[in-house]
């Protein structure tokens, strides 16, 4: 029986409060009629209304979503392949180098990855824009996907794959009929993570962007570095709401469809 002491409860409570309070305050201020943080001018949705008219902002949001969709999907495919390689194929040559390249981007400061990718694109004379950001985000995302899918694959019973092959399914069909359906929750979670990372990324996007490819974080950053703006409060609150809703929906969905676990 696990005992939950008051210290534990206090720790968790304080931690949660710390994590959520700033966001709550942000949301509250997005409804503040006054431009000044010091003054409470009453409730209003004025700033949200303003957003609809802000064409550049909407466009950058659209671009961000498109980049995120492309890079998350590509990252998921590449990352799943990499996870398969690491888990299923034992000690292949260059495994160490391969693993090093998978884990390094997880911790590498973004200014470095952003800078290096930009220099690559310049060196091979690619026009920078939508696709260079997508490539950069794919590279970063695939490492996170690998870590998540790998964790699931390691627990995955390989005798299921052997049984499928024994019954006549080729390795390719085995992957699509048996492996993939059973690791799908992890793959889906990995896709969502890669999507969120791409949507949210500022530094790498700043380095690898080009004309006509201003993402939402880049636009928000250029506005807020000059100071707090109530329109930005509205944008940010909206994003928080959308993401929060998506994550909660996803986890509820996962719960309802039931865990497709294997009998232990």
């Amino acid at each position: 029986m696990r005992k939950v002491s008051t210290f534990n409860l206090a720790a968790i409570g304080a931690g949660m409060a710390f994590l959520y309070l700033p966001i709550v305050i942000l949301v509250i201020y997005s409804f503040n009629a006054s431009r000044l943080v010091a003054v409470w001018g009453g409730w209003t949705t004025h700033w949200y209304a303003e957003l609809v008219n802000d064409a550049p902002l909407l466009e950058s949001a659209f671009i961000s979503v498109r980049v995120a969709l492309v890079s998350a999907s590509a990252a998921t495919i590449l990352g799943t392949l990499a996870a398969l390689a690491l888990v299923r194929f034992g000690r292949f040559r260059f495994r160490l180098g391969f693993a090093a390249m998978i884990y390094a981007p997880l911790v590498m400061p973004e200014v470095i990855t952003g800078l290096s990718m930009l220099l690559l694109f310049v060196a091979i004379a690619i026009d920078r824009g939508f696709w260079t950001i997508a490539i950069a985000h794919t590279t970063l995302g695939m490492c996170f996907v690998t870590v998540i899918v790998q964790a699931r694959l390691v627990d995955f019973d390989s005798s299921l794959e052997e049984a499928a092959m024994d019954l006549g399914a080729s390795p390719l069909r085995t992957f699509f009929l048996i492996t993939l359906p059973l690791v799908l929750p992890a793959v889906a979670a990995a896709w969502m993570l890669a999507f969120a990372l791409s949507l949210d990324d500022l530094v790498i996007a700043s380095f690898t962007t080009g004309p006509g490819a201003t993402t939402l974080p880049i636009r928000i950053y250029s506005e807020v570095r000059l100071g707090v703006k109530p329109e930005m409060n509205a944008v940010c609150s909206l994003m928080v709401a959308v993401v929060g809703l998506a994550v909660i929906t996803a986890s509820l969905f996962a719960k309802l469809t039931g865990a497709r676990g294997e009998p232990r």
């Binding site: 968790i12 700033p22 966001i23 888990v87 292949f92 390094a104 695939m142 390691v154 994003m239």
Partner: protein
């Protein structure tokens, strides 16, 4: 099935898929992760130029062997000498390491009790708690820092609260200070510390703690002798997951910190976007990577070991 062929030895069946499964991501990473680093190295040995691209020399294979020789002749370590001579850069590195180290310690001090508390709650609640911890992470990083900009304003809610509670006589300055940077960093990186710690603590076998108690260990001693050592891999993972990226942080010090004594991420950004000095920025980046090689290798080793253990 095929009829028997008179050849003495048929080659055994080997699946071809592994080559593709390994090859495709491998090739991608080499192209878009490894090669860029080499290019950064090369640029760091180049000079700044008013041209497109804004550096020289540029390797043009069309110029043939002569061109390649000229290319190598044009490389120099001038940029590195600049870094060594100008105290601005050294201070920047030192500041970055200092902030990263202290904030990692703070993160560990705050994160461990949270993770420990989470691991001790009943199973059903744990899933919800994990979700709650991860949720802010899904919302934009930029937004969360911006949220702190709101709070830490001179006439913002924090100061309003402090004044209202008469804790201070006049509102202190938060923004553009190191304190704000620490707050921002701890706030943003907390999930990165809590989650690996929680993952390790959650796997801890409670019967080990019971055995220790049965053998006469008081609770604090059990924690010190059993729980803490067994959570070491999680601690290592959390520490590295925070320390390494914090050193290169840009957004937080830029939005919350002051312009005096920038962190190394800001320095690179300024050199690159501000001064348009790509070679110097590259040199700064190369030195940073060299600094980080040891911790990164430790992290990779640990990650590979955890993956292989299962």
């Amino acid at each position: 099935m095929k009829p028997t062929i008179k050849k003495p030895k048929r080659r055994p069946w080997r699946p071809i898929a592994p080559k593709l499964v390994v090859g495709i991501p491998y090739a991608w990473l080499i192209a878009f992760f490894l090669v860029p680093f080499l290019i950064v190295l090369k640029i760091s040995l180049s000079q700044s130029a008013i041209a497109q691209p804004p550096y020289t020399p540029v390797l043009t294979l069309a110029a043939g062997l002569h061109g390649i020789r000229d290319f190598f002749a044009g490389l120099s370590i001038d940029n590195y000498l600049l870094l060594a001579s100008d105290p601005l850069y050294l201070l920047s590195y030192v500041k970055s390491v200092e902030i990263a180290a202290f904030s990692t310690i703070i993160l560990l001090a705050i994160g461990y009790p949270i993770a420990y508390g989470m691991a001790r709650t009943p199973r059903r609640i744990q899933a919800v708690l994990v979700l709650l911890v991860v949720l802010p992470f899904w919302t934009s990083f930029l937004i969360r820092i911006y949220a702190w900009m709101n709070i830490l304003q001179h006439d913002g809610p924090l100061n309003q609260l402090l004044m209202a509670l008469h804790i201070v006589r006049e509102p202190p300055v938060w923004l553009a200070t190191d304190t704000a940077i620490y707050i921002g960093i701890v706030y943003s990186y907390l999930p990165f510390m809590v989650l690996p710690l929680y993952a390790t603590l959650e796997k801890l076998d409670p019967s080990l703690l019971e055995a220790a108690a049965d053998l006469g260990c008081p609770q604090w001693k059990t924690f010190w002798l059993v729980t803490l050592p067994l959570s070491a891999p999680g601690v290592l993972a959390g520490v590295l997951l925070c320390f390494i990226p914090i050193i290169g942080e840009f957004v937080i010090p830029d939005l919350l910190g002051g312009s005096q004594n920038p962190m190394i991420g800001q320095t690179i950004w300024t050199e690159f976007f501000g001064n348009k000095d790509w070679p110097t920025a590259s040199a700064v980046a190369v030195v940073l990577v060299c600094l980080l090689v040891a911790p990164i290798v430790i992290f990779q080793h640990q990650a590979l070991r955890t993956a292989g253990e299962n």
